[in-house]
Point group: C2
Amino acid sequence: MDTEKKSKAKKPVTQDEILLASLKLFSEKGYFNTSLTEIKDAVGIKTTSGIYQHFKNKQAIAEVLFGNIIDSLSISIDDIRRRNRKASEQLREFVDLLFRLTEEAPEIVHFLIIVNIKEILPEHKPLLETAPFNKISRIIQNGIKDGEIRSIDPLLAYSYFFGIISHTLRLVLSGDLPKEADSYQSQAWLSAWSSIAKK
Amino acid sequence: MDTEKKSKAKKPVTQDEILLASLKLFSEKGYFNTSLTEIKDAVGIKTTSGIYQHFKNKQAIAEVLFGNIIDSLSISIDDIRRRNRKASEQLREFVDLLFRLTEEAPEIVHFLIIVNIKEILPEHKPLLETAPFNKISRIIQNGIKDGEIRSIDPLLAYSYFFGIISHTLRLVLSGDLPKEADSYQSQAWLSAWSSIAKK
DNA sequence: GTCTATACGCCGATAGAC
DNA sequence: GTCTATCGGCGTATAGAC
């Protein structure tokens, strides 16, 4: 998002460049298999010290990365809830978003559903306690109240619905299912919704 | 499985002791957050060199661990297929096994569904190509042939069924659902089976 | 043949010069 | 804000004591 000055000198490395390169490397090789040396090379500076100007340590990169993803997801969910009223419509749009993201920015989805946050950031609150999950949970609770979703523990409903969705996305990310196939998306949505829908 | 001589001297460290301690540490803190020094302490020797008598390196420990789990799972599935004929019965028993394992040996299930094998063992074949998965896949294909399971891509059926099961087991492992609650198990089974069953 | 002592290389991290 | 220099920790590896 910076105005690019490609003239003259050794371009200063921005925080966003480091984040972008790290996200790519982390999702390709894993957080622990990625060294600061590799991140340094990817952004084009000579030593790792430059990274420490923007981040306290390697873990801080993952923290900001994860926080950004959580925040942007939270905003998207707000938008979805504003534009739709029924739980089925809201969940359907959220599934659309996840599949679209898997196609356009697979590294982000990788970070969301493959990476074990607790292993990288032991101090971080679990996904279940983050804003996006709370909002999804509220959607499900409203769905139960309105009779769209059958009366079960909301945590179980979440587990069934996103169990199917995220397991399918895993297969897409690993290349075992083609990204582009819309049919997988609509089938996965249908199965996931059926697993919690009333009747 | 050794006859324990608890008399006298500094007991020899067996391969099984190292494997057991490693499995525990890996599932508690993660593979990369576990040092050979910690494994050494857990089995009660003074230096890490003793470990190298049994394993080439840290990765080899994970390899044997993973191989053992895969093998034992494969044998259990053979047994289940021998004792049951219908796909529904076979899958039901396999789900029983997974929930029982989660209660009795959560570290094993952790290794199976939380750990990203590709990150620890980049050379290892993906789970989808291991014997246990192939056998599960065959159960599903037979279920489709016999009209028990609806006609969809077996890979999708696998994804739906084990998406629900493994996502639920994740919640149990993280402590968000109680281990002992049989009701979660039967509910999860029902939802998982319904997501692929015919009609 | 099992364990101990010790050394090497890579990575994460810090301090200070320009 | 980029680079030089340097440190400690860990995984790895080997040679030798019992």
